[in-house]
């Protein structure tokens, strides 16, 4: 039996919101190190179990994007074009931003849309949501020397802004 608003003492959360919030709470936020402490070119072995569980949790479409990011982190180090494997920094920041954006979107009753991930030639991560009338690109450079940004385009209007979960969730609202 569902509760009416008058009877609710605390806000009611969906299972998706609980799962996302729980996962986020168990995953330490990535801190951009001022000094590079690990070699990103090393074989990756630092994908947190929580992220792997999130990738296989079947949360539409967050899990698919996290799964793609995990695959990028496990790619061969390089190909003809450049670095193929996502750097630890780019992987961590991208996972954090997309997961938090999914939580914010869920609180507004929305899911994040299906997106496509890739790496640039230096191991930075790109996630692109491309539709006929609206597009969003999340761009995370390979190292903390440069800040990530969001490109957004709706019809003839477009712009870029620093990457944050709130901004990403807001811009993805225009992508169906």
């Amino acid at each position: 039996m569902s509760l009416t608003m008058e009877n609710q003492i605390v806000p009611e959360f969906t299972e998706l919101e609980w799962r996302l919030a729980f996962s986020r709470a168990r995953t330490p936020k990535s801190q951009a190190p001022s000094v590079r402490t690990a070699d990103d070119r090393a074989t990756p072995d630092t994908i947190a179990p929580e992220r792997l569980r999130l990738a296989s949790a079947g949360i539409k479409y967050l899990s698919a994007i996290i799964q793609q990011l995990v695959e990028l982190r496990k790619e061969a180090e390089s190909d003809e074009y450049g670095t193929l494997r996502a750097s630890q920094h780019a992987f961590d920041i991208a996972c954090h931003l997309v997961t938090d954006a999914a939580i914010i979107s869920a609180c507004d009753g929305r899911q994040i849309p299906r997106g496509c991930t890739s790496t640039d030639s230096q191991g930075g991560v790109r996630i692109e949501w491309v539709r006929p009338t609206a597009s969003v690109h999340l761009v995370i450079p390979a190292s903390s020397n440069r800040d990530g940004y969001i490109y957004h385009e709706v019809a003839d209007r477009h712009g870029t802004e620093p990457a944050s979960p709130d901004r990403l969730a807001s811009r993805l609202g225009a992508v169906s």
């Binding site: 299906r114 692109e128 490109y151």
Partner: protein, 126 residues
Amino acid sequence: MHPPLDCNAIVFRAMARRRWVDPETQQVLPAAFSRRPTPKDDDGLSVDLASPSSCAASLNTCFGVASLHVGRLRNLGLDVVVNCPPHANIVGVPRDTEDRDRAEWLASQLAKQARFIRPEPLHGLP
């Protein structure tokens, strides 16, 4: 110095990465039109003038080819400069470190204009 291409010419860009194409829609993604840091892509974005198969042959591993219409590139303020036929470069696309808004916008427009040619049929083309 090579003469300028006709506006009705078609050029081909090799898909060096599998993830440059949306696997669900087969649409070329903006990631395929991002210039790499110097010294790579100093002359622009590489394209081939001859054919899809010629373009694909420029890479050991090619995940397909995107075709682009030169006239429509010029409508974006870009051009194609031939340097060593059949190789040419799309010029006018900034790096994201130079002008990230224009770089992303152009990548988005180029992706919308591009027509993806799957790698399988390329084997049967001249």
